[in-house]
Amino acid sequence: MIAVFESKKMPLVKTVVNGKHIEVERDRWALDVLLEMGVAVPTLCHHPAVEPYGACRLCVVEARKGKWTWLTTSCDLQIREGLNIETDTPSVIRSRRMSMELILSRAPHVESLQRLAADLGVGRPRFGPHYDIGKCILCGLCVRVCDRLIGASAISFVGRGRRRSVTTPFGAASESCTGCGACIAVCPTGHIRSFVEESALNIETWNTRLEMIDCKVCGTPFTAAKLLESVQGRLGKGGSLERVCSKCRRLQMCKRLGEAFHQV
């Protein structure tokens, strides 16, 4: 996990979670605290590697402070003194179910969504699928990971409201995509399609095709040339990358370990 958002040491504050009195560092994200306590909270747009976004609305909880009670997402809620959080009130359950039903109706065939929906007690959505959007649920994880962690900003949201989608600039082949595959790894629904063909990585969903480099040892294409270049660029003189695929590297490592073992 990348510790980008670790804050400086904060004083402890008193809060209540589902009736339990606890002391937590001020400003911590409520969702992290809930998960640490073992409270189950469904999420779809959250990933610990990027800052909270608050888009899917599944992580809602009921917050109370003084005389105010309100429904709020917990992923982007910071803990403050006197905050009272409830995670299983009727309105929380109702809200989560409706959010889930609406998300599922965008992409009803996605198994990961069906499972999450079943956990929340949501059956077949009452709304029909109505526009052709693939499996994307607009959680924005790919966009944020590509921008904040990889620094490529190859994809972004375009369009407002119901026309919102994720794509490369003008839907054309991306110039800044390095083919790192972080978006594919982080997507909760498997919307982003890619395949290797004739020594090229095709990220179909982003209309992008990248030349690959062959492994020095086994000769199979193993990574996009641009990715190697960009990582090498970041390493600078600090190190050089070998053009060996992970499989062969593992084999080499085993061999070396074996030899070392015999020498002892």
Binding site: Y53, A55, R57, T72, D76, L77, L102, S105, G140, G161
Partner: protein, 643 residues
């Protein structure tokens, strides 16, 4: 466009004393011995032909060799009677003329040159030079030959109005800072810089009770104080001129007609908060507002009223214009800030207030155009004066743009607490063509539709929310009995499916599903259970959206379901649209007893569906009829009905 202010005048004003000199000079110039003729050339005036009128005036004054000043002003609010020309002549009350054309304007100047002020063309005369601000001249008791012209301030349209935010709109040339100074402009700023501490200004604004005019009605002083107390430098002061609400144009009118009032307000606010830079965020579709603001900013800088060391003090503040992205959601505070930063206008959760971390992560204070325009008047007239106007918790006035089915459309500024009936009937003349009032949508797409039984509701922040609507920015759309409330809800909901930023599930998906149900109802395919699902969705969207757009998106639907439930049920159970709007559910018929066989409907029907002979009641061929309702609109005997 070129500024009409003389270049030689554009020296810096180096001190508060010097400002007073400038004020006296500007006054003597404004009320000079020359005749000043001006044309209301705001966007609304221009749309009604003000540019031609102005060209005609300029040409006539030039060719006749008259020593008249020809100026353009903003809008006096009475959009219905445009183009408007006004004449300010020495020794006479200021006269406003309505329904002008280039030809009439030429005739008018020729006549004035001969001492004839054409009272027959006048809309009204002003006893004093403005509707609010104290003025030098008072003609209340001496109309000087213009006694046949009614007093402007006594016309039904103006009688109940009190112009604070709109004080100069239509009265001064927005391209000339000296006309603003002549009518009291920048005197509040001069007074503040000379003798008031920042904290005391916040106290003053607090005592006045001023609340934000951008919709939510937040206490302005509380926001300023939070920003003043927040740690961090720089701090930003912003003005929200996004005005994305369809049918609303009050902020446009102020930006076009009185831009210096906004700049003066912002400068006072910046001084109170401790900020030295600001932005005015203007909607993309408002080119004239941008132009007039830009000219105003440049003139204010040249006069030393913006920029470094304002009026020779050590206070500095400057403003830039940021042009909006043309989206309704960009009016939301966090989306607006993202947009100024160059990102797409997407709101974020406001667990951390923008007064702590706003624009570029710095303490930021955002107020609406109208809010800023109120500030100088509060300083000049005092907090108590302001607090005496309006209702218990809503002080001062509010500008409404009243459109739709009223006789007089336009901009209306009234003390808060007056009733909807006062605005719709007394000021705007009620529903035209003898039709019945059906409802009024206040607050645009975020507001609700209020029925006749609520006409006596006092208009203030709390009462509107209690009734299921909101003040919003002040748009009012009046509907008569030929409007369908389900269609109204569908219209605004459709608007919101396009204008939602699409970030959060609740708003993006929820509103689309609400729209689907509303569409089913308007085309007669809904069942009773759909009403329950619609209600469930409304409550969900309201509770689960990130920003105000989603949180208020259900208001049009919830309010119409609440006040016009029978009409929804008629669509669902009887497959009938009582208002005759939803085409699939409408059948127009002729009531034979009323039909006088005049033949108008026969001529009007675009598809020749009305059959009729002389002296025989007409009939409508239902197979041909496209349910446009044109026959119903033209029938003088009210003999076309919805079956």
């Amino acid at each position: 466009m070129i500024s009409t202010a003389g270049k030689k005048d554009t020296e810096r004003i180096k001190s508060v004393q010097e400002f007073q000199g400038k004020q006296a000079y500007s006054r003597s110039k404004f009320y000079s011995d020359k005749v000043r003729v001006s044309v209301g050339a705001g966007t609304c005036g221009l749309a009604n032909g003000a540019a031609d009128v102005l060209a005609g005036l300029r040409d006539e004054v030039g060719t006749s060799g008259l020593d008249f000043l020809v100026r353009q002003t903003g809008c006096i609010g009475y959009c219905q009677v445009e183009p408007v020309v006004d004449v300010l002549a020495p020794g006479l009350p200021r006269v406003f003329y309505h329904y002008m054309s280039a030809g009439k304007a030429r005739q008018l100047v020729r006549a004035i040159a001969e001492g004839d002020f054409h009272p027959d063309w006048a809309l009204g005369r002003l006893s004093r030079d403005q509707l609010l601000v104290r003025s030098e001249r008072d003609f209340s008791s001496k109309p000087n030959g213009l006694s046949t012209v009614p007093k402007l301030e006594e016309l039904p349209f103006y009688k109940a109005q009190l112009k604070i935010a709109l004080r100069n709109c239509g009265f001064i040339d927005p391209h000339d800072i000296e006309e603003y100074i002549a009518t009291g402009g920048y005197s509040a700023l001069a007074q503040v810089l000379a003798s008031i501490d920042p904290e005391d200004i916040i106290d003053l604004v607090e005592k006045s009770g001023l609340r934000g005019r951008g919709g939510g009605g937040f206490l302005t002083a509380r926001k300023w104080r939070a920003c003043r107390q927040a740690h961090g430098y720089p701090k930003y002061v912003l003005c929200n001129g996004d005005e994305g609400d369809p049918g609303a144009f009050m902020d446009r009118s102020i930006m076009e007609g009185n831009p210096h009032a906004i700049l003066e307000g912002m400068t006072i606010g910046a001084y109170a908060i401790g900020s030295d830079s600001g932005y005015v965020y203007v909607r993309l579709e408002y080119p004239l507002a941008v132009e007039n603001l830009q000219i105003a900013i440049e003139q204010a800088r040249a006069y030393g009223l913006l920029g470094p060391n304002i009026l020779g003090t050590d206070f500095s503040f400057d403003v830039e214009i940021s042009r909006g992205a043309g989206a309704f959601v960009c009016g939301e505070s966090t989306a607006l800030m993202a947009s100024i930063e160059g990102y797409s206008g997407e709101p974020r959760a406001k667990h951390i207030h923008t007064s702590e971390k706003g624009l570029f992560g710095q303490p930021t204070n955002l107020n609406n155009v109208e809010t800023w325009a109120n500030v100088p008047v509060i300083v000049n007239e005092g907090a108590q004066w302001f607090a005496r106007i309006g209702g218990e918790h809503s002080k001062g006035t509010k500008v409404f743009s009243v459109v739709g089915k009223v006789k007089n459309t336009g901009l209306v500024e009234v003390p808060m607490g007056v009733t909807l009936r006062d605005i719709i009937y007394d000021i705007c003349g009620g529903v035209p063509d003898g039709r019945a009032f059906k409802g009024v949508q206040t607050g645009g797409p975020s507001g609700g539709c209020l029925p006749e039984s609520l006409l006596d509701l006092p208009v203030d922040f709390e009462r509107l929310v209690e009734a299921g609507s909101m003040m919003g920015s002040g748009g009012m759309i009046v509907m008569d009995d030929h409007s369908c409330v389900v269609e109204l809800a569908r219209y605004f909901t459709e608007f919101l499916t396009r204008e939602s930023c699409g970030k959060c599930t609740a708003c993006r998906e929820g509103i689309v599903r609400m729209l689907e149900i509303l569409e089913q109802i308007t085309c007669g395919k809904a069942v009773r259970e759909d009403m329950d699902l619609l209600d469930e969705l409304c409550c969900y969207v309201k509770d689960n959206s990130i920003c105000g757009l989603g949180k208020s998106a259900a208001n049009p639907t919830l309010s119409t379901v609440k006040y016009y439930r029978d009409e929804y049920l008629a669509h669902i159970e009887q497959r009938r649209c009582p208002a005759g709007v939803c085409r699939e559910l409408t059948k127009f018929v002729v009531i034979p007893d009323r039909c006088k066989a005049c033949g108008r409907c026969v001529k009007t029907c675009p598809v020749k569906a009305v059959r009729g002979r002389e002296k025989v009641a007409h009939t409508i061929d239902q197979d041909k009829c496209v349910r446009c309702g044109a026959c119903r609109e033209v029938c003088p005997f009210d003999s076309i009905a919805v079956a």
